[in-house]
């Protein structure tokens, strides 16, 4: 039996294509049912892996941060033990698609609630009110208000809302450096290449609270914008939204919320706002 080379090649190509598509989908979709509790099913939650104090994957494979604590508490209220939670990285640009495709049940990843995002996903919460703020060197007193920024060198993350705010609203004259991550900005801040790093105060507090940065930096304490962090979930899933809202309410009432804030963001003299009122889904 003689198979021509072309036919063999075609068969290989088809086989490859099939395996490639088979690998595409994740084998474990987030379950579509509500909480059943006690069963062996996993709850997949999207978090950030690279934001100290909020959502961080440590080198030994653990997850720490305020968002992680919130996610764990909500999961507990939904009937999942900590060992049933599977964390998945949700980078900013992919959050909506992860939710829409059902790869994650919900996303707790410094996810500011806004109308454009609500076109694709629903939110529960908000569970935290952050403001855009500035991080400066601990001995720097030259910045006290937003107008001071126009003569300063600023650093923020490429394409982020904070960077765009600086360019369009806060300080169009400022010399803005956009970097791939906040850590790169810290290098410049330490070496005096830039004067301030700007983004949500919660994220800044997380960095300032890191062991290696203790005492080097301080938050200025400006409120340049309001960012209401919500928990993103599938559009139209009213049942889950109600459950998560109830869980968040309970977390604030029993003091766990404040404990989580103090534990993760406290060391940097970060004065957080009191827990915001739940506005979504009512």
């Amino acid at each position: 039996m003689k198979i021509s080379k072309a036919a063999a090649a075609a068969a290989v190509a088809v086989a490859l294509a099939l395996t490639a598509t088979a690998c595409g989908g994740s084998t474990e979709k987030a379950s579509d049912t509500g909480a059943t509790g006690g069963s062996k099913e996993k709850l997949v939650v999207g978090i950030k892996y690279d934001q100290p104090g909020l959502g961080l994957k440590t080198p030994d494979g653990k997850y720490t941060g305020f968002d992680v604590d919130v996610a764990t508490y909500v999961a507990k209220e939904l009937g999942y033990e900590p060992n049933q939670i599977e964390f998945k990285q949700a980078v900013s640009a992919e959050r909506e698609n992860l939710i829409a495709n059902g790869d994650v049940k919900f996303v707790v990843a410094t996810y500011s609630i806004n109308d454009k995002r609500k076109e694709k996903v629903d939110f529960a919460g908000p569970y935290f009110l952050a403001h855009q703020d500035l991080l400066v060197r601990a001995d720097d007193t030259s910045i006290t208000k937003a107008e001071d920024l126009n003569k300063k060198k600023l650093c923020s993350v490429t394409g982020s809302t904070s960077a765009q705010n600086v360019k369009t609203k806060l300080a169009p004259e400022a010399d803005l450096l956009e970097q791939g991550g906040y850590s790169e900005c810290l290098t410049g801040l330490e070496n005096k290449a830039v004067d301030a790093l700007t983004t949500d105060n919660s994220i800044l507090a997380g960095y300032a609270a890191q062991e290696k940065n203790k005492g080097k930096f301080k938050l200025v304490g400006l409120s340049l914008s309001n960012e209401n962090y919500g928990i993103g979930l599938k559009k139209g899933d009213k049942e889950l939204q109600t459950k998560i809202n109830a869980a968040l309410k309970k977390m604030v009432e029993d003091g766990s919320w404040q404990k989580a804030v103090d534990k993760n963001l406290g060391p940097a003299n970060f004065k957080s706002e009191p827990a915001p009122q739940i506005t979504e889904g009512s």
């Binding site: 454009k116 490429t158 450096l177 790169e184 290449a193």
Partner: protein, 224 residues
Amino acid sequence: MFDFLDSGQYDVLGAFWVTVQLTLYSAVGSLIWGTILAGMRVSPVPLLRSFGTAYVNLVRNTPLTLLIIGCSLGLSQTLGISLGGDTFKETGFRLAVLGLIAYTGTFVCEALRSGINTVPVGQAEAARALGLSFFQVLTLIVLPQAFRAVIAPLANVLIALTKNTTVAATIGVAEAALLMKEMLENEAQATFAVFAVFALGFVLLTLPTGLLLGWVAKRVAVKR
């Protein structure tokens, strides 16, 4: 679907213009640097030869992202080298061009070396017999013929370079990829439309480049 483009909030053409500028400056620079490197690698001086070889092998196998971030973090923010730029915008652009030249030059050099191999040894021997120096043999006899043989591979390098300029976004150069990041941040409801716009933009830049240079390559190739 594409209504976010009509808001006037995004200067897509301006961003792509920066991409084109990055590409052109880096292309010219890497052509010059690559030619110098190729000259080093075929020269009779052992020191130059080993430098060229070491440089090409080191830089060619380093990820471009590392090089460009290294330019920004190492040169600019730690050592304070700004290449004459007054603002981060200017400095970032120049650093990105520097990184792209350093990286793309190695590929130009390798393409050229393969082109030098297409020139018959007799050509160089005849030139030597006429009493030309090594430098004259290289610049007058060998390189012109080598260039004509490697237009097509150089077109590949140029297309790769065009797409590689997106790495400059990581150090804040306001080119297409950076605008795409901003749009993805703001236009959560239209992520795929945003991707489509930028993918199309790059195809519009690279496809004509490839076709044109392919035609040129056919025209100027040395028929042996």
